[in-house]
Every structure is written in C-alpha cells, then in structure tokens.
C-alpha cells in the first residue's frame, strides 16, 4: 500500500521540484529527525541543523541566484518546508522565519545596494534573519505599532519593544517596523528598517519558554535609541505596513506547509502503527473506528496540500494569491491540529508519550494557528476579500 500520498498524486511537479523534495526528504529523515526529540526536550536553538541546511543551500531557496540564493520557486520552498516539518517543527519554523520574514522583505522591497549587502549572507546561512512586527500592544492589530523611528541627522533613532521575534537571540539581521509619521493616515504611518545586530541599543529582553516548537528561538527584543542610518530604511518611507502585509501573504504559505508536514509526519507514524499494533486479536487498523480515522486524516491532508500547492503556484505565476494563501494557511493549520489529535488517539497511551513523537508534533502544530496571523485573522482576510468591507 502506498501511504505516501504525494507519490500517487497528479501534482505534476517538475523534475527539479521533485528532486528538491526528495533530497530534502532524505536529509530530513536521516539528519533532522534523529535530533528532533532532544532539541525539543532541551529547547536549544537547532544551530547544527541550521548549519547543515546552510551547507545544502536550504537557507536561500527562493532567493534569486544573483543574490546568492538557489533561485527556486515558491512551490519548491513549500515542498522543502513540508519535508523539514515532517521531521522537526522547530527547525521548520526557524527556516520559515529566516527565509520568508528575515530575508524576503529585503529581496522584494530593498534597494539594489541593500540587496547586495544584506541578502547574500542570509541566503548562504552565514547570517540568520529575524523579523519584528508584533508588539506588546500590537499583535493581530499590527497597525497599532508603537515602536517609533525619529528622524535625526543621517538617519533615524528607533525606540520600542518587539514581541516574539523568532530567531532573535541568534540573528545577525533584523527587519522591523516602526512609526515614522504618527499623524499620517493609519496605513502610511509605518516604515520598515533593516537593523544589524551590532547596532548599539539592541538587546534581548527575554527568551520565551513555550508549549511547542521549543527549540525555535522566540524573544522579546528592546530597541533603545538605536541609530539606524538612512541607507537602512527599507524601500520607501510610509510603506512599511503595506510591505509587511504582502510579506505575510507569502509567509502564510510557508506556515501552512509547516502544518502540512507536521500532520503528515504524524499520519505516517499512525499508519505504520495501526498495521502492527494488535488489540482483540486483530491489527488495530482492522477495527473500523481506527481505519476510518486513517481515511479521514488522508483526505484532510490531501485537501490541505491542494490548497497550498495552488496558492504557491499562483504566487509563482505572478497572480494574486492573498485569499488563497490565507485559505491554505487556515485550513492546513486547523487540519494539522485535528489530524495530530486523532493520531495520538490511534497510538493510545503510546501516542501520549514523548518517545512516539506525535505529542511533540501536536504541540508544534499549535503555533501554525497563531503565527503570521491567527485563524481568526485569516477568516477576516478571506471574508473581507469575498465581501468587501461592509
């Protein structure tokens, strides 16, 4: 029986996309999976994983070749994310934040000079990227940003606090938002900046302890009167909010892929288990209650995959994809929670134990319903797109 849903499905991936998927799958299985449990237990940043990914060029998948990346398409990035998440959620989140949020804003909106200076070290993995939008008083309502940048001679002075910055304690580069004109209309108040870790005044206020993705680094970061040279304003003044809304559209496909990978990781273990574990004289998979769970999981995983690959393809084709990205992220992350909850159930008591991996995946997957826009926010994005602002 073929439990690898991808192998039999007509996704019509290109040879290159298949090779990327298969290579990352081998790497994730052989290298990342054996380290996942201990990373989760210790909560240390997966530095060795990051270096190994860098050595393979996984730290710059969608970055154009001209700036040191692999120049692959969004779908290739999604396939890689999915395979990495199957093995280790923390590592997947690390890579998603580094790539979609810590690097792509500069690729998409940076000046030629900024791209030449900052993108290649991120793409090669020499420098880790981090991104700061969320604040104590500005989460879902990211337009409520209070961090302020005041114009001074030769640049700006940034003052404020950012919450939950993934990768912050190990990052060499921060991309953040700050208010540059508090009197402007809401969406023109904010600008984006590129900050080097070495700029004086940046400090890690707290490294968070958390439910899942425990090896991913999440920090509160203080920016205390940080001088940022004029050349580090990202794109145009007052466009920061709009840039980040666009960046999140792309990032959401990545988080969706993470959810998909986690669900698949649990599903694969579950299928194996239901064939080998016996109860009442039969493999548990021969009990219809378990068999039907497997069927339901497979359908939901496949549906999420269709939504995600479709959104990625729209982006690759240069077509609008905001609604599709939101739909894919919303469905995939809620699907992962359902599938992994049932996967634990299939394994019974063993599913509840850390040794069997699925409880970790379940904890990791919860992040996908929160990061890069909560499920509630996705429903707002989708319904506004459908209904307009009523």
């Amino acid at each position: 029986m073929n439990t690898e849903l991808q192998a039999v499905d007509p996704f019509e991936l290109t040879e290159t996309q298949k090779m990327i998927r298969d290579t990352v799958r081998d790497f994730a299985r052989e290298t990342l999976a054996p380290r996942a449990q201990e990373l989760d237990r210790k909560g240390d940043f997966p530095m060795q994983n990051f270096r190994d990914m860098a050595a393979m060029g996984l730290t710059g998948i969608p970055v154009p070749e001209a700036y040191g990346g692999a120049g692959a398409d969004t779908l290739s990035f999604i396939l890689a994310m999915e395979e990495i998440a199957k093995a280790c959620g923390s590592t997947a989140l690390t890579l998603a934040a580094h790539t979609s949020l810590g690097t792509m804003p500069i690729v998409q909106f940076g000046s030629e000079e900024q791209k030449r200076k900052y993108v290649p070290p991120n793409a090669s993995g020499e420098v880790i990227g981090s991104y700061g939008l969320t604040e104590p008083q500005a989460g879902s309502d990211s337009g409520a940003t209070r961090t302020a940048a005041t114009r001074v001679s030769g640049g700006w002075r940034v003052q404020g606090t950012k919450m939950f910055m993934t990768n912050a304690s190990v990052a060499g580069l921060f991309v953040i938002t700050a208010v540059t004109n508090k009197d402007a209309p809401k969406h023109e108040r904010i600008s984006a900046f590129i900050l080097e870790r070495s700029f004086p005044g940046i400090s890690i206020a707290k490294k968070e302890d958390k439910l899942g993705c425990r090896a991913s680094d999440t920090c509160i970061v203080n920016f205390d009167d940080v001088f940022v040279p004029e050349s580090n304003l990202l794109g145009q003044e007052g466009h920061g909010f709009s840039y980040f809304m666009q960046i999140l559209d792309g990032g959401r496909i990545g988080i969706g892929a993470m959810a998909l990978g986690l669900a698949e990781g649990g599903f694969e273990r579950c299928v194996e288990y239901s064939k080998t574990r016996s109860a009442f004289g039969r493999p548990i998979g021969a009990h219809q209650a378990i068999a039907f769970k497997i069927a339901d999981m497979a359908v939901q995983i496949q549906a999420a995959r269709h939504l995600l690959y479709h959104a990625a393809r729209l982006k690759d084709a240069g077509r609008p994809y905001k609604r599709e990205a939101s739909m894919a992220k919303l469905y995939a992350s809620e699907m992962a929670m359902r599938v992994l909850r049932e996967a634990i159930q299939v394994l019974g008591g063993y599913g509840y134990m850390t040794e069997y991996h699925i409880e970790r995946m379940y904890r990791d997957a919860k992040l996908c319903e929160i990061g890069e826009g909560t499920s509630e926010i996705q429903r707002i994005v989708i319904s506004r797109d459908l209904l307009g602002k009523l």
């Binding site: 040879e15 290159t16 090779m19 290579t23 393979m56 710059g60």
Partner: protein, 249 residues
Amino acid sequence: MILAVCIKRVPDTNARPQVAPDGKSINPQGIEWVINPYDEFAIEEALRLKEKAGTGEVVGVSVDPDGNESILRKALAMGVDRGILVKGGSMFDGAVTAELLAGVLKNVKADLILFGKQAVDSDSYQVPSLVAHHLGLPRANVVTKLEIQGTKAVCRRQIEGNEELLELSTPCIVSCQKGLNEPRYPSLKGIMAAKKKPLEVLEAPPIEARIEILKMEPPPPRPPGRIVGKGREAVPELVRLLREEAKVI
C-alpha cells in the same frame, strides 16, 4: 584530470519489488528508482578528487534499458559535470553492460574510472572487472581508501581480517566500498544547475545478450519461529534442533 563514474539505476533499497506478470522482470509500478548506493561512494570520491585537485572534469556514465535520465540528473545535481546515457542493454546482463560502458569510456579517456563495488539489484560484482578487461586497464575492487599520487592510484581494501595495499598506474579502474567516504546530498544550487548541464543520450549498438532471464520469483516466505521451551530445561532440545534440524552447529 578526467574522472569517469559509472552509475546504475536500481529500485529504492527500501522498496519491496514485485515480480511483473511476465514472471521475468520487476514490476515497475510504484517503484522509486535511486542511484545504486555503492555508486554514490564512487560519485562522492570523484567529486572530492576533483575538488582536491582544484581542476578536472567528472563524467557520469550510465547504461539504461529505458533511457531513464533521472539518476544521471541526480548525479549532475551532486556535482558531476556532464552525463552520458547509453540507452539499451539490460538491467541484469553484466557482460552487455560492460561492453557498452567500455565502448563509451574508450572515448572519454578518463584517468580514473570509478564504480560501485556491486549493483544492489543484480549483485553480480562483475562489471568493473569486465570493463577493465575490455579496456586493458588495471583495476582494484572493493576499495575503502583511495589516494592519487601523480600517476599512481594507491588503494586500500579489506581482506580476511587484514588490509591490502595496492598501487595501480593510471589510467585505472577502482570499485568503491562503503566506508570510502560519506556521500553528500545534492545542494539546492546543484539541483538548479543540474538541468542546465549537458547530458548526452546515445543509442546502444546491438549486442547479443549473454544471459536470458527465464524466471523471477519472490523469495519463499520465512517459516514462522518456534519456541521450544523456557529456561535451562529447554537448552538440550534447542541444541538438538540447531544441530539436527537447522544444521547450523
């Protein structure tokens, strides 16, 4: 330095191949094909030798009855510079494969030709030696350490509880054993570059088959295990069965 690597497409070692309805071949349905695992050591070694020399070319050569390019593309993604695919031959006739390879390698003029020590599907261990014969080259089989010193290839191989040290003059043929190196994963850049690298496809000249496959059968199912008793008391019976029935002691 020109390095040639001969690679074969084999079913994924995790797959359980089924016999096709004709009873003489493997059912290709649902099979994932991979580079023969021992050939990966050969590819890695060639890439390292080239990297160490700082110059040179690595040429991948494969004989494939279906003309399937997938494993050569993967070799290109790992860093091999160009590929030559010979469409023809058969998966199990090593003599034909060797003749076809020799025909191509004659023109490649490699300083070193690397093989895996065996193909994990046919397991016949013969192709490197047959190619050496056709080309009149020295060869070392099942090598676990290789060093190029000028025009010499210094090879180490494990023999019955000992190690053998061979010195071959180049050009020569070396077949690679596990332990020689740790094959790399293709890098993303390598994968992206692979589709732009040259891959020449040649039609195999007609060569008379030396082997005819009459029948393929799955191995017989293993008989179930048996528990002969518990504790000390079971030992004499166990020894008797091992001696008389299983005939292993």
